[in-house]
Amino acid sequence: MVKKSLFAIALTLFFGFLVVGVVSAQQPTPSDDQVNAIAKQLYCPVCENIPLDVCPTTACAQWRELIRQKLTAGWTAQQIKDYFVQQYGARVVGTPPAKGINWLLRVLPFLIIVAGIVILYRALRSWSHPAQQVNLPSHAPAPPAEQPGSQDDYIKQMEDQVRKR
């Protein structure tokens, strides 16, 4: 009788551990927040510039479901993103790949900033040192002096014009 009882307990424990083992081996179903944490880094394939987590289309719903399946299978966020890029192209991550003409997009902003700094530096330098001046001996020819009379005539003409008005 005791033997039978012990056997029954052992059998129950064996199957109990078996069930617990199977359940604990399964990945828990990822929550919407976990799915959306990755989905918001991806973009809708159909409607441009809408992140996947807020996109209402059927295509986006399918993609979010795919993310959930991949998370359940134990994939990391990076693996999922790489998979999406491989399947649907680089535009799903909203960042063009660093190849071909796309390099221009990455390099150009820095080039523009550097060019701006150079221009600003040169402008500031020219303002602080307007023109390099040198001392020349007194026997060097002097620039022609302005005739005081001609300036006076011009001012007089201007004043006459103003008075007439």
């Binding site: 394939p45 295509a59 399946q69 221009l104 060019a115 007194s138 060097a140």
Partner: protein, 189 residues
């Protein structure tokens, strides 16, 4: 007494490099504008037009087969872009399958279905739902649709035996007769 004037020699040495920089800047700006213009022009080109040779591609089907230019050579090829989430695609799915069953035995007509931005499980459900038997595969990396400059789904391109685009349809076919009307003239007597 000493006078101060600007040294002309100093000016002439400054104009050399600054002029060079100015030329470089203008050339750079011009090159940038050319690049931007080319990209914009390409984007505004629209789909491949009739009479043009459409871009060649290799389709890896859902069952792992590869169908490339060699398989398409000398055949009338119907390339249909679709997606399981696309309701208008469903309208033509049965008609496309009927047309394929009509032409399949000839051997000189090939139908290819390309699932655009679709998930594989959903695509397979769609294929099963409409009992589609012609080769279908995903547009991996959307490279084929980009090469064809598609604007959405469904879109169907029919390529003649010479490899030139004979017709394109940017909406669903409404009947099998419409598909036949597009293919029959390309088959000859």
């Amino acid at each position: 007494m000493e006078e101060t004037i600007t040294n002309p020699a100093e000016n002439s040495t400054k104009t050399g490099p600054s002029r060079l920089w100015r030329i470089v800047a203008w050339v750079g700006l011009f090159a940038l504008l050319v690049v931007v213009a080319m990209v914009l022009l390409r984007k505004q080109q629209g789909p491949v037009t009739v009479g043009q040779k459409p871009p060649s591609f290799t389709l890896t089907t859902f069952d792992g087969r590869k169908i490339g230019p060699a398989d398409m050579a000398g055949k009338v090829v119907l390339v249909n872009f679709w997606a399981s989430w696309c309701k208008p695609c469903e309208q033509e799915a049965a008609d496309l399958e009927s047309a394929w069953e009509y032409y399949q035995s000839r051997g000189d007509v090939l139908f290819l279905g390309i699932a655009w931005t679709d998930t594989e499980p959903a695509s397979l459900v769609y294929i099963k739902k409409f009992a589609i038997t012609y080769p279908n595969g995903p547009d991996l990396g959307t490279t084929i649709s980009q090469a064809y400059r598609t604007t959405g789904v469904p879109e169907t391109y029919i390529i003649d035996k010479d490899g030139k685009l004979a017709s394109l349809k940017l909406s669903p076919y409404i009947s099998v007769a419409e598909i036949k009307a597009a293919i029959d003239p390309l088959l000859g007597p």
